[in-house]
Structures are given as C-alpha cells and as structure tokens.
Symmetry: C2
Subunit: 436 residues, 2 copies
Amino acid sequence: LLSQTRSERTCPSCKVFFSHDPIKIVRAKGQYMYDENGVRYLDCINNVAHVGHSHPMVVKAGAEQMELLNTNSRFLHDNLVQYAQRLQATLPEKLSVCYFVNSGSEANDLALRLAWEYTGHKDVITLDNAYHGHVSSLINISPYKFHQLANAEQSKSVHVALSPDLYRGNYRQDHPDPATAYADDVNNLIQKAHEKGHKVAAFIAESLQSCGGQVIPPAGYFQKVAQHVHRAGGLFIADEVQVGFGRVGTHFWAFQLQGEDFVPDIVTMGKPIGNGHPMSCVVTTREVAEAFKNSGMEYFNTFGGNPVSCAIGLAVLDVIEKEDLQGNALRVGGYLTRLLEQQKEKHPLVGDIRGRGLFVGAELVRDRVKLTPATAEAQDIIYKLKEQHILLSADGPHRNVLKFKPPMCFSEEDADMVVEKIDQILTGTLNAPLSL
Amino acid sequence: LLSQTRSERTCPSCKVFFSHDPIKIVRAKGQYMYDENGVRYLDCINNVAHVGHSHPMVVKAGAEQMELLNTNSRFLHDNLVQYAQRLQATLPEKLSVCYFVNSGSEANDLALRLAWEYTGHKDVITLDNAYHGHVSSLINISPYKFHQLANAEQSKSVHVALSPDLYRGNYRQDHPDPATAYADDVNNLIQKAHEKGHKVAAFIAESLQSCGGQVIPPAGYFQKVAQHVHRAGGLFIADEVQVGFGRVGTHFWAFQLQGEDFVPDIVTMGKPIGNGHPMSCVVTTREVAEAFKNSGMEYFNTFGGNPVSCAIGLAVLDVIEKEDLQGNALRVGGYLTRLLEQQKEKHPLVGDIRGRGLFVGAELVRDRVKLTPATAEAQDIIYKLKEQHILLSADGPHRNVLKFKPPMCFSEEDADMVVEKIDQILTGTLNAPLSL
C-alpha cells in the first residue's frame, strides 16, 4: 500500500531499490539499516552515510545548531569560516576559496559557471558513462543519463572522451601507456572542437568513475589531460562527490591518487560531506573566484553555508579524524579487495576486481575474453543478497559491476559476511532465505 | 577579522547584509535575531524562517528523525508519502505528483525539465526583473541576474515579458484592463517566437514578484496568460519559492490570489518549506509526470525527500496550522499595510504601498509623477534602521522598494516599531543610535 501511494503521489521517474519487493527502512545505525520488522541489513552501498548512519556526534552537532540559529550567509558566522578553513586544510594550497551549496548537482553546475566565466569559453569535455548530476546543465554532460533517452540530442558544445577503463575500455592493462593514450583522446577532442571554431572551458571527471562502473583511471592520466586542457585555455574540474573524504584510504581526496604533482582547478564535493544532510561545496583558486566576481554578477545561495550545515560538516570531519575512518577504509578496503580477488580466482564469472579503499567494484562477465557483461547474473546476486539481508547494488554502463561503497565504519567481519554470501551464491550452495 | 577571513576563504561574489558593517548573528528565536553582544534585532526580512527562527517543534522533528534515520528515497518511508499527501491537500486536486529536491533552484530547474519533456518545445517566457535561481539554466531566465552582466547575451530561446507592475510598469492603475494588456504582451512574444520557428515550452513567473520589486500582478492576468500559453502547447509554472505557505494571508498559495479558476501546471516551492532546512518541492499533474517518466530517463535526487527533510516539512505545516500563522499574516500584514499607507499620506517619498499578508513593499520615489527611484534614500533608511536594531532590505530593479517578508509570527507591536522608526527617519526626528 505504501509503495502504491508513493508511486501515485510522488515522482514516478524515481526508482526504489529492489523494485519488485522494496524495503521499508525505519532506522539505521553505523553500517546497519533496520526494516519495520526489526530485521537488520548490512549496508554496502550508502556512501552518503559516510561516518555511519545516525552518527551521534553528527546528530548532536546538527540538533544543537538548529536550536540556536539556522540562517543564510548574509550574516557573519564563525561556522562558515571555520568550516572553509578546515576543508581547505585537506586540500593543496592553491585550492583556497569555498562556495557552499546544497547538493552535488548544485556544486557541479556552479563549477561549470566558474569555468565558463573564467575562460570565456563554452565547451565541456566529459567522460563516457559519466554522471555529474540531475540539473539540466549536468544532464547535458552526463552520458550515463542522456544515453537513456531514445531521442537524445547531444549538445554541440559537449564532447565525450573515452572512459579511462583499463578492463573494458579502448586501452587496457596490456597497453604500454594507457594514461597517455586516454589523454591523447581528450586532446583529439580539443583539436576537433578548435577546428569547428569552438573553445574548451573545462574537462570534468569524477576522480574515480562511480556510476560509470567503478573505473580507476591510470595514474598520470589527469596530469596529461590537465596539460592539454590548460593549453587550450580550459580548466580541470575534479568531481569528488562520490569518492572524496577519505574513502580511497591512502588519501583524503581521490584525485590525489594521480600523484602529488596533480592539482585540479576546481574540486566539487557532495554526498558524504554532511552524512546525509543536504549540503555540498565547490573549492577553487583565488584567480577563478576573482574572475567570477569580476563578472559583476552576485552569487547567493539561500541555504548554502548556513550554520547548521557547517556545524554538521565540521562534525563529519571531526569523526573521520577521531575514528580514523580513512585508515579504516584503507585496511578494510584492502581486506575486502583481497577477499574478492580470491572470488575471482575461484569463479570465472568474476572478471575484474578494482578498487581503492572502500570504493570497490567487481565486474561480472560471462566470458573473460569477450567480456560479455553478466548483467542478469549481477541482478540475481543483488536480489539473493537482499534475501540474506545484505544491501549491494550493480552499476556501470552494462549494470554488471557489483559496487561496494559502504559507510566508512565497515568492518572486516562485514567484508567476510558479504563475500561469503557471494561465494555461496556463485557456488550454488546458498541456503534458503532466512525466514523473518 | 572574521569578515576578512570570510572574504579570503569563501565566495567573493557572495554579499553580506550591511557590507560596510556586517552583523554577526549567533542565535535567533521567533522574529528576533541576536548578535554576539546579545543585542536583539527585529527581523523583517527572513522569510526562510517562516514559522519563526529555531521553532522548537521544527527543531525537535528534525533532531528526532536525524537520530533514527536519514537516507535516500530508494527505500520506502512513511514520511515521504505522508508529506506528499499533506502538501497536496493544500493544492488544487490536479496538482497531484510531488518531486522532492533541495533548493528553489533545483525545483525551478526540474520544472523546466518537466516542461521541456512534456511539450517537446524549448522556449521559455519569463517576466522582466524575475529571479528564479542560481543554477545556469535559471540565470538564463532571470533578467534580475543577467542584466548584471556587462556582456549579457540573452539566450535565443528565452523571451522576457513585461513585469505586470501596476505602479511603474507599462500599464498602470489608470489602465482600463491591465490584466489583458500584460497578458497580450505574453501572447505577442509567443507569436514572435512562432514567426522564428520557435515553440514555447513554458511561461514561468513568481505568483508575486519578489526580487523584482514586490509586484502584485492584477487578478485575472495568470488565467489569460495560461490561455495563450496553453494554446501554444506550453505549460504555466508558478514559482512559489518566496511567497507560498500562507504568507499572503487570504490563501495558502499566492497563485490563488488570481481566482479560484486558476490552476498552474507546475508549482515550485522552496525557502519557507523547511524553515531553513535545505529542501524544496515541485508539484505537477499526473500527465506531466507520466510524460517525464516516459522519456525513459530515471530521476534521482540524493538528498531529496529524505526522512529528515520530510519530518521537518511536516512539522512546518503543523506549526502553520496550529499557530494559525496564515491568519496572523492576514491580520498583521493588513495592519502593517495600513500603517505604511499612513506613511504614504505623510511623506512624499513613499510612492506606493503594495502587499498581501506579510509580503509587503513600500516603493520610494523622489517624484510621484516621474517616479524617480529613491535608491540612495532606501539604502539610508535600511542602514538607519539597522542602527535601531531592525533588519529590513531594499530590492527591485532600482533597489528602491523596502521589502517586508518577516517570519510569520511577526506581531502588530513589531509592525508599530518598524513603522514608527521609518516615520522618525523620514521626519528627521530619529534619536542617535542606541549605544550597545
């Protein structure tokens, strides 16, 4: 009944998980979610609940600030400035100006506005299978979305570069220098744009592609792309909405995996930033910020940077530090990856394991040479895991990549549990679903 | 120091109130804000704190739900469905499908996407001086913003209609039928678009123009516009981001001021909806929602419709009802308007008083015939009121309209206080600023 009323009263384009038999979750704590019957689910997918669902320090920070004051940034407030300073301390020095907004979509749209204004150029280069948000400007640069449309008409100012996918892409593990090869593709797009009299404002990419299939670009790729894009007068936008805030384990930001010598011109943040509270951020250089200001157009965001959002953002940073969640991502993510690698040894269906920290993908294929996507099999695993009270999802252009991005308090025991169940499903030895 | 660090570390395009001497607010309650020295300010401007700053019922609802669960709408949850039902109960029956998003900007952008998809058309008609949000698609339809740019290049698919302003516009109080005259202007734009082979997807307008200068369109105007737009195959989008939720006193939605026979195709909501919590909503008809769904593109909004936002939205609706804030807006708004009308009788500078409920504008002019905008005088009043610990702002294309949009718990005593101070400023009898 709830499901039916929902589909009558709210967005019919919005899908629920497990649409054949959706779950009603009523509470959650850490890496666990509980349905209305008290059944506990292990959550392997909610990267938004970054420091764990309903973390008491985050809840307390939000509640206390709500009680005191929640207003817009037209007044001075310590939280705004403190939070900007704390975020900047995690970033290379030249990324020194923060814009606070409400969602990853608002952040990426503002990043485009900054790039357009700074460069005076219009064109944008995006990666194949990319998803950067739901507002209209971002649908235009999200092949993951516009490929869904029958009558998709790609904007003439958007250019789609090859996804730097070493498993299924044009240049693979066996290529002598895939970083250069993929970057050259971007350069070719720039040259083609120039031939048509177009100019490139920005290259935008997730530091690791998420919806695109948990793709890890080869190290050095971003540096080479940035060289090409800068030479064309454009900016490099690193979208950290899915992958930032310590998830990759070795670094706080996923773009840092490319090497110390790489610094984007603009970084966008979102999902995990407020552990579920609607907030996000764009960070850029003084030069870009000044150019945007000098356009003469004021920027105002009603909710962005309000004292409650900033208090929550600060609490999230505190918890990451205090509970060493980046370290946990490194340790448990490594452990999970090793367990999955063993599955790859054991089951031919598991074609590729790739990940950094607690951002891990397992790509399923019917044939390890042809790489035929095992889409139905991935869906089957997801549904069987759900019956075992484990929440996992499949994504990527073929929806055949099992996608791990759990809350950062995920433990080795959790990793053991989910991989054991996957093993049983693949072996065909899984017992009947637990009864409730 | 705080002000300086802020301007170094955060968005230099973001302006603070009273930039010569900004205020640091540390707490707020009801219609009052308090600075770091405990000085109390009467808040005449923060329409976002709709039911009063830090309302305990809203804070409690948010805190309790944060403690339990805050996750995305891919899981079923009662709050989402209950909130959709409660909002729909305030609207005409045909507005039956809700999309929950995070800001007025996200709401208006989604409204455009719905209109584009439903109609298959591209062009948008907007009002002069309109502001609909900060994402790139909305800057395009916001003359209030794009007029700020030196090198503004208006999109060929955006058409700017006359603002239906009966005081300063093309057709005024003395016109026999301004509703028809202003609607005919929209129709002319439609015809001109057709001549160029363009087709109109939507007409968008705030139900009462806010940044545009607190403009109250003549009753019947929307009906006539809707006829023209529907004939052209387009939709009518009513932007209630600033003016909805009972502010106009006689009705819950400002578009209802036009008459019982007017129903927009899409309504967007924002600012007051969550009393400061980042959330917003788009409501439309089943037909429009189905067309959007049938495009084949899924819609997902990470934070939109999460259980915390919905709990807060429900609490705001409860408080409006329980404390009869719509009734209060009617009573106190009427009282404030009468007091301001007396100021108009007394001071030639006060050219026009216009308002509905607690949405009131006082337009200042140096000459009542030429309507020369008294911009500097408006700024002077604002700064002098600030010294008296009253927060008011001036807006409109000439920044000469004093703009009242206080929290809805504003009282007659508050109205007395602000108007008395304005009277003293205009009379020149104001005492020296209160010392702290």
